[in-house]
């Protein structure tokens, strides 16, 4: 559960940082304000709720994957674990997902400058790259099964299929939202605030899922273990 606890510490740090700005040590009973006060509110305009909602959701997704990874490490300790070779295709898929992320980042920039043509292009590119990533993952599954690495043979295989599946479902969900944003971008002549927001949020989500994928990839490739071993050596 170390991975999970590490993740939760990070989440806890964010919460603590946020709470530190909320005057939790004030004495509210001394602070009734008269009507003449401007209860001003925040110094900056409040962040849109959807944006905060997305970050909270990413926290949930992060917890989900860190728990899975914890389970991966704990299951790995048993004797019946053999690592499986990774198909080359995964490198291509990684590149696809990364370029999808870049495309969306591009879309985010274009929407800020109000260039609709470029925005549509970028969104479509992001969508297609994401879809290709998914197709590539499924192809990787097929290659592995064909090579005889079946789901039930070994826990390493089981985790590979389960985690890539879980990640793929999240990508699929993201694609639905990107798709909707793209449709909206084609329908609009000028970037509305809503479109700007959507494009920004899609970008954040895809960057996050890219990061999750890179961690999973490192895990499957065995680098994560080397890293953990290194940490252990440094500690001891």
């Amino acid at each position: 559960m170390n991975v999970t606890l590490f993740f939760l510490t990070a989440v806890g740090a964010v919460i603590a940082w946020w709470m530190a700005g909320q005057r939790l040590t004030s004495k509210p009973w001394l602070e009734a304000s008269p009507a003449q006060t401007t209860i001003a509110g925040r110094k900056d305009p409040p962040a849109p709720a959807v944006k905060i909602g997305l970050y909270v959701f990413l926290g949930v997704v992060g917890a989900l994957f860190s728990l899975s990874i914890s389970a991966y490490f704990m299951r790995m300790e048993s004797a019946d674990w053999w690592g499986m070779p990774l198909p080359r295709l995964l490198w291509v898929n990684t590149a696809l997902l990364a370029s999808g992320s870049v495309a969306l980042q591009w879309a985010k920039r274009e929407v800020r400058h109000g260039r609709m043509e470029a925005l549509r292009l970028a969104l479509v590119a992001g969508f297609i790259l994401g879809a290709l990533f998914l197709a590539g993952q499924i192809e990787a599954w097929r290659q592995l099964s064909a090579a005889g690495y079946l789901l039930t043979d070994n826990p390493a295989n089981s985790f590979f299929y389960m985690l890539t599946g879980l990640h793929g479902l999240h990508i699929l969900g993201g694609l639905v939202v990107v798709g909707r944003t793209t449709v909206r971008a084609f329908a609009a002549d000028a970037p509305s605030a809503r479109l700007r927001l959507s494009a920004g949020l899609c970008t954040v989500y895809f960057h996050f899922m890219l990061a999750v994928w890179l961690i999973l990839f490192a895990l499957f490739a065995g680098w994560a273990n080397d890293f953990v071993d290194l940490c252990r050596q440094l500690l001891s």
Binding site: L8, K27, S33, R42, V50, I52, A63, M162
Partner: protein
């Protein structure tokens, strides 16, 4: 939020809010069924949760009948007994308590108490309820599936949960249970995002975090915890589904089942337990923290006194929430995990007793020098303190690793967790329903019926669970279909079992009075008016009762003070609503 001191700025700008199309539903369907109004969703959640809770109540009767009169009721065989305990546990913990506190009270109270017009994502909120309903239906489907529901115990420990020695293990039971949980978690996440973001972003002007009522603090913290803890259950359920359906070996070691070698190998049952309790322990506080918050407000309002040590109460909620993530393995002292973990988890577990004890002291100290109105909500709050203190203290037995060794898996554990996370939160739920029913319906619940309900429930549950500890001490194991002839159990223990069962039947029957009261008062209850308890918090200051969709009419309320200005010296009344500005005078600086 930053407060600018008086004199540096002009008057408060108008808080007029644009009218939203959503607040004027066009048809009966969008108003009452597919409603996006958090208050309607809250009622939907509550009604569904209470209905499924009634099923669980009946199941508890059946299992108690079996324990008191083994063999007398022929339709309760070992299979169905284990199915009853499993469904009873799972329904009560997840589908009743979690759903009612967060989906029910959270939906109703968060927007009203922080001065929002609704949840921030009304559509996701609606979806959350319908997904929850589907989860409940899948769960209930287990009763009608071939082989019946699962009988693996609510902890669903593999390998037995997916083997044929357990009811539903090789049939539909376990599949439906796992699917239902997965669906529940998806639905909960939609709701949970709403509750958290509404508290973060939906607060009205002036509502700083430290002006929030403790109810909101409790529900908010519990929701954050649930969002981080439920994924553990989600992962565990998915992995177990893989093991059961696809033949993987995440949790399944080499097994000889009834003389036959199974295909699995190498898996770790303890891994499941870690995942399960990583969710399961925070779950206890997911249920307890909203109860802590609500009971604080009930005590303060009905004792006409500010909650004692508000800051300490807030910090305690946050600290308990954080600590509850590093105590999970105290459920696993005798699970065969590395015994060295016992030192760490016993220490963290007993440390969590300190903030919890502080909360108890502060509730009692709120009563000190109060002006205690013994209304029904107050009675339930007092009863909560008794049962919670009792259950909390027995938790110190089970948390202290070596004392847990003889007591684990005995009736002592059953008595402990029923007292602390069954009865105690449910007493708060009742208190809260008597307290907020007038806001939800505009009418008061009947007082006489309420008193009968209160005394039977409080004394009855105490009579059920207090003696049960001693059965555990004696060594009677839990989850036993029948104790049979056991040398160390004296015959008098069977008499005690009969007594407990009779009390359980009585307490269960008393809940029918409560249900009758809920329905009867809806039509015949005394008109309540907008603020029958003379409370300070925002939900009692709505322009209409029950509040319309949008809650506040044209203008959002503006908050000028904290939620606990009761019996302020020099004030004309013994409460000052949060919406009332300070009148220049600084009477209270002198006191503090």
């Amino acid at each position: 939020m930053v407060e600018i001191p008086a004199g540096s700025a002009g008057a408060v700008p108008s808080a007029e809010v644009e009218d939203v199309e959503l607040y004027h539903p066009k048809s009966w369907w969008t108003k009452y069924v597919f409603s996006q109004d958090a208050k309607i969703i809250a009622v939907q959640y509550s009604v569904t949760a209470i209905s499924i809770g009634l099923v669980a109540l009946v199941l508890s009767w059946l299992m108690r009948l079996q324990l008191a009169f083994p063999g007398y009721f022929e339709f309760i065989d070992a299979d169905s007994y284990y199915q009853f305990i499993t469904m009873h546990g799972m329904i009560m913990v997840i589908y009743l308590l979690t759903a009612l506190f967060l989906g029910g009270f959270g939906n109703y109270l968060i927007p009203l108490m922080v001065g929002a017009r609704d949840m921030v994502f009304p559509y996701a909120n609606m979806l959350s309820y319908w997904v929850y309903l589907i989860a409940v239906l899948i769960l209930v489907g287990g009763f009608f599936a071939p082989g019946g529901p699962t009988g693996a115990g609510w902890t669903l420990y593999p390998p037995q949960a997916v083997l044929s020695g357990t009811p539903g293990g090789k049939d539909w039971g376990i599949l439906l249970m796992l699917s239902s949980l997965i669906v529940f978690i998806i639905g909960f996440t939609m709701g949970g995002l709403n509750y958290v973001v509404t508290v973060l972003q939906g607060r009205t002007r002036g509502m700083t975090l430290m002006r929030m009522p403790l109810t909101v603090w409790g529900i908010f913290t519990a929701t954050v915890m649930a969002l981080l803890a439920f994924p553990a259950l989600f992962v565990a359920c998915v992995m177990m589904l893989f093991d059961r359906l696809l033949g993987t070996s995440f949790f399944m070691p080499a097994i000889v089942e009834m003389g036959e070698q199974l295909q699995h190998g190498g898996g770790s049952p303890i891994l499941f337990q870690h995942l399960f309790w990583f969710f399961g322990h925070p779950e206890v506080y997911i249920v307890a923290l909203p109860a802590f918050g609500i009971v604080s407000d009930l005590i303060s309002t009905h004792a006409r006194k500010n909650i004692f040590g508000y800051r300490m109460m807030v910090w305690a909620i946050v600290i308990i929430g954080a600590l509850s993530f590093i105590v999970w393995a105290h459920h696993m002292y005798v699970s065969g995990m590395n015994p060295a973990f016992g030192f760490f988890f016993a220490t963290t577990t007993l440390i969590i007793a300190i903030p919890t004890a502080i909360k108890v002291y502060n509730w009692v100290l709120t009563l000190w020098r109060g002006d205690i109105h013994l209304t029904l909500p107050m009675l339930f709050a007092l009863a909560f303190i008794v049962t919670f203190v009792n259950g909390g203290l027995t938790g110190l037995f089970l948390g202290n690793v070596v004392v847990d060794v003889p007591l684990s898996d005995t009736m002592f554990v059953v008595a402990h967790f029923h007292m602390v996370m069954g009865v105690a939160p449910i007493l708060v739920i009742f208190g809260a329903i008597y307290h907020w029913y007038p806001k939800v319906t505009g009418r008061m619940l009947n007082d006489a019926l309420g008193h009968i309900h209160f005394w039977t429930t409080f004394l009855g549950t105490y009579a059920i669970f207090f003696p049960m500890h001693y059965l555990g001490l004696l060594g009677v194991p839990r989850r036993y279909y029948e104790l049979g002839e056991t040398a160390f159990v004296p015959p008098s223990a069977h008499t005690l079992n009969v007594f407990i069962t009779v009390m359980a039947l009585v307490v269960g029957a008393a809940q029918m009075i409560f249900l009758f009261n809920l329905i009867w008062s809806l039509f015949r209850g005394r008109e309540a008016g907008g603020n029958p308890w003379r409370a300070t918090t925002l939900e009692w200051q709505t322009p209409e009762t029950p509040p319309a969709h949008g809650n506040w009419g044209k203008e959002l309320p503006v908050v000028y003070r904290w939620a606990y200005d009761y019996s302020v010296p020099g004030a004309p009344e013994d409460f000052i609503p949060q919406t009332q500005p300070a009148t220049g005078g600084t009477t209270r600086e002198a006191i503090a």
